[in-house]
């Protein structure tokens, strides 16, 4: 029989990685709908969508900061690559470029989070507080 309690890990993920200003309300809505009769798979799908939608919305609303973070991350990666290999042009291969863009996009998201109103709630605060404060305007 299906538990009436929504998947705890999914809920934890949404409460920590969801960027919407209505995050608590979204969790409440999902819990209510889950108890009406939706499946755990449905709950997980909803959580994944909410995190992804919030991620892109956050990046979009902090375009300049995100761009700076992506460029900074990319330059750091490029510098590290140039220092550690004899073939720096390999950095420009498709997989390297897409991989580094993904890493930089995530770093952009973190920068946007720690420099915005979410900072006080962010799980990465203890790790990034010093660098975040120096990067935030």
């Amino acid at each position: 029989m299906r538990s009436m309690e929504p998947p705890k890990v999914a809920r934890w993920m949404l409460s920590h990685f969801g960027c919407s200003p209505n995050n608590a309300t979204v969790i409440g809505d999902l819990d209510e709908r889950y108890r009406i009769g939706h499946s755990p798979a449905w709950y997980w799908r909803q959580v994944a969508t909410a995190i992804v939608v919030g991620f892109f919305k956050e990046i979009w609303s902090h375009k300049l900061r995100a761009l700076i973070a992506v460029l900074t991350g990319w330059i750091v990666l490029l510098a590290a690559f140039v220092r550690t290999t004899n073939y720096p042009w390999a950095y420009l291969s498709f997989s390297s470029v897409t991989g580094s863009i993904a890493v930089c996009a995530i770093s952009a998201w973190l920068v946007a989070r720690i420099s915005g109103s979410h900072f006080s709630k962010s799980p990465v605060r203890p790790v990034l507080s010093s660098t975040g404060r120096s990067m935030a305007p």
Binding site: A24, T25, V26, G28, E32, A50, V52
Partner: protein, 122 residues
């Protein structure tokens, strides 16, 4: 290509226009009246469109509508089935209603005289 400013529709900037999904959400808000919070909004949208609508996407649209001044919100009661979290009720503003009417007018004009769309065959 040069655009004539006189050909612009009366309704403000592009940023203030309603997107497709935003229009659907605002129509559901009008339909639900005072009971418009996340759960009925998502379910009504799903029922009317025949698709499972993600709650996260609904809130993203509601936040955009609120930014544009087409919708206001207020916190409601918290219930045990929501894990003690408060509901958030959404209401369409006079500006939002005006924008819906203008969008309807524009779409109706675009719809008229298109034989391809008559008869219901794809």
């Amino acid at each position: 290509m040069a655009h004539d400013a006189r050909n612009k529709p009366p309704s403000a900037t592009k940023r203030d226009q309603l997107g497709n999904f935003e229009l659907m959400v605002i129509l559901v808000l009008i339909r639900l009246g005072d009971n418009a919070y996340g759960v009925p909004i998502s379910e009504e949208l799903g029922k009317r469109t025949g698709r499972d609508v993600a709650t996260g996407s609904v809130y993203a649209a509601l936040e955009r509508l609120e930014d544009k001044g087409f919708v206001t919100s207020e916190l409601g009661e918290a219930t045990p089935e929501r894990g003690g979290r408060a509901k958030k009720y959404f209401h369409v503003t006079a500006r939002g209603l005006k924008e819906v009417r203008e969008t309807q007018r524009a779409l109706t004009k675009l719809w008229q005289g298109l034989p391809e769309l008559l008869g219901g065959k794809a």
